[in-house]
């Protein structure tokens, strides 16, 4: 566990995962309608809602619109998602009336593998017919990637996750780059940012290739290159992510502590 923290107002000490979650949460604008994947995206989206974006509308694929969980959901259909939601609708409605209809501003996704164009694999590692690892599959991701106005991806920076070629394209990012995404008929902008535990990648406006544009405090370009399975493009002068503030970190840790207590399952 690496710890950081130097800036004024910044937290004294935090983990790389905490930095990643905080950085991702900052990408979510207040008032945005956000379709949230379970796990890291859910953590970041709820941190945003509890800090700078109290008016964001969180949608989970189980059918909850305007979910306001007080602990992080243990699953995509957790009861805390329904409890204070604005509405709960059926799964067909959430995909057809909300996502496909263009009512979602931001899709917030995790991934098993990502390539340089932000395409995502959550299906298999190895050949489809005889996979080395059978992953869970598509879930809601292909249509989130297709129909949200923009997509935020969160993924820990590891060579086996940031790959030259995906075993399987489950969800389309910028396709083969350039205009490919638009040529496929997708109206949304696709992945506009990939947040890792080392830094922030954004697509090159021309080629769509993910480019390292900022490093988290303490992380280096060399680390990022080493953890990337393709020849990583780096901005001329990559910026530096502001470290988590004490406030952000406090809220995140409280959220995770409440969640852990609920996970231990003694609540009724």
């Amino acid at each position: 566990m690496t710890t950081h923290g130097e800036k004024a107002g910044a937290a004294a000490s935090y983990t790389a995962d905490e930095m990643m979650t905080v950085a991702a949460s900052r990408e979510l604008a207040d008032g945005a309608v956000c379709f949230v994947g379970i796990g890291l995206p859910s953590e970041a989206a709820n941190l945003a809602r509890a800090t700078h974006a109290p008016g964001c509308v969180l949608i989970y694929e189980s059918g909850t619109v305007g979910a306001k969980p007080d602990v992080l959901p243990l699953s995509i259909g957790d009861g805390v998602l329904a409890e204070h939601a604005d509405s709960v609708v059926s799964v067909p409605e959430i995909f057809n009336y909300w996502l496909q209809a263009g009512r979602v501003d931001v899709g917030f996704l995790g991934a098993a593998q990502v390539d340089r164009f932000g395409n995502i694999n959550t299906t298999v590692v190895g050949p489809y017919e005889s996979p080395k690892v059978r992953l869970p599959g598509a879930g809601g991701a292909p249509e989130i990637a297709a129909s949200a106005r923009e997509v935020i991806i969160m993924l820990r920076h590891k060579r086996r996750a940031f790959v030259e070629e995906l075993s399987f394209v489950t969800s389309v990012g910028h396709g083969t780059g350039g205009n490919h995404r638009a040529e496929l008929g997708y109206t949304g902008a696709g992945p506009t940012v990939l947040i890792t535990d080392l830094g922030v990648l954004r697509p090159d406006p021309e080629t769509g290739e993910l480019t390292l544009v900022a490093l988290h405090p303490g992380a280096t370009v060399e680390q990022a290159r080493e953890a990337t399975g393709w020849n990583l493009k780096v901005a001329d002068d990559p910026g530096s992510t502001d470290p988590p503030t004490e406030g952000e970190l406090q809220v995140l840790r409280d959220l995770k502590a409440r969640t852990e207590a609920a996970r231990r399952g003694t609540s009724t």
Partner: protein, 286 residues
């Protein structure tokens, strides 16, 4: 028209070898009691249909009930992999498992088409992904008015749909509240429908975000308290998270899986006994 039966009779009468069977639930109200009864009765060659195959399909696949899986996301929700599902796909154990794989939006619309008596549904999706390369049940279709190309998926018409719900009333109408997922469409798309419920009440009261499935759409109702364990039933009990976590280790090992199934499912007469059996091991939180 719904009649209140016991689960053994309902499964014996309505679920046959070779059937396509959809036991649905979107991490809420998982029909575990019914899945176990199918395992106990030794059904074989089933085509299992489900958006989110989880522990019960891991169990059914692991004991050899299934020939094929039609799905969109298979995992232990909030925990990780389904090891029995992976073992079947990666190694063909205990037998090869054919898979037909879609996205959630595709599966949801396939159920909608089935429930609507249509042969197919239309959606925006799949374009540019590898899914159409491996899944033959995805085909392009053109809008006759705009010329725009979209994707079509064929209807799902399961032989049997099984869901768990909170309540049935005296007339056999079934109430689901909270997150109802794809339960309505699963029931209405199927040729036969079985519903297990927490309890039968005289009259249904309104609950937040409640849907009511009319009795006429259901073939058999069976009362199975706590029948969605280890998932939750809004208004009745919480998710048994410890069980989901424990399942990872149980299912990882073939031998451990088999002896667990032998002891708790195949070695019990019914779901009540199963609950006592796992409670004895401290695996039910509540």
């Amino acid at each position: 028209m719904a009649h209140v039966a016991n689960l053994r009779e309902a499964v014996a009468g309505l679920v046959r070898d070779g059937d396509s069977v959809a036991l649905e639930g979107f991490t809420h109200l998982i029909p575990t009691a019914a899945a176990h009864e199918i395992v106990r009765q030794g059904r074989r060659d089933l085509t299992l249909i489900r958006m989110t195959p989880d522990l019960i399909y891991d169990q059914m696949i692991g004991v050899g009930c299934a020939r094929k899986l039609v799905f969109s996301w298979g995992g232990n929700p909030g925990v990780g992999s389904l090891h029995r599902f992976r073992d079947a796909v990666e190694n063909g154990w205990p037998q090869p498992l054919e898979i037909e794989e879609h996205s959630h939006a595709g599966m949801a619309n396939r159920y909608v088409a089935g429930a609507s008596g249509l042969p197919f549904a239309v959606l925006r999706g799949y374009v540019g992904t590898d899914l159409p390369k491996v899944t033959p049940t995805i085909a392009p279709i053109e809008c006759p008015f705009t010329g725009e190309e979209l994707m079509a998926v064929p209807a799902l018409r399961p032989d049997v749909a099984i869901i768990h719900a909170q309540q049935a009333d005296g007339r056999g109408n079934v109430a689901v509240w909270g997150i109802s997922g794809i339960q309505k469409e699963a029931v209405l798309s199927a040729r036969r429908a079985i519903v297990t419920v927490e309890e039968v009440v005289e009259e249904l009261a309104p609950h937040p975000f409640q849907i009511v499935l009319p009795a006429v759409a259901i073939d058999a109702i069976a009362v199975e308290p706590h029948g969605a364990h280890p998932s939750y039933a809004d208004g009745y009990y919480d998710r048994d998270n410890a069980f989901y976590e424990a399942w990872d280790a149980i299912a990882r090992d073939r031998g451990m899986f088999r002896s667990w199934m032998d002891e708790h499912v195949l070695g019990t007469e019914n779901f009540g006994e199963y609950l006592r059996s796992v409670r004895a091991e401290g695996m039910v939180s509540k």
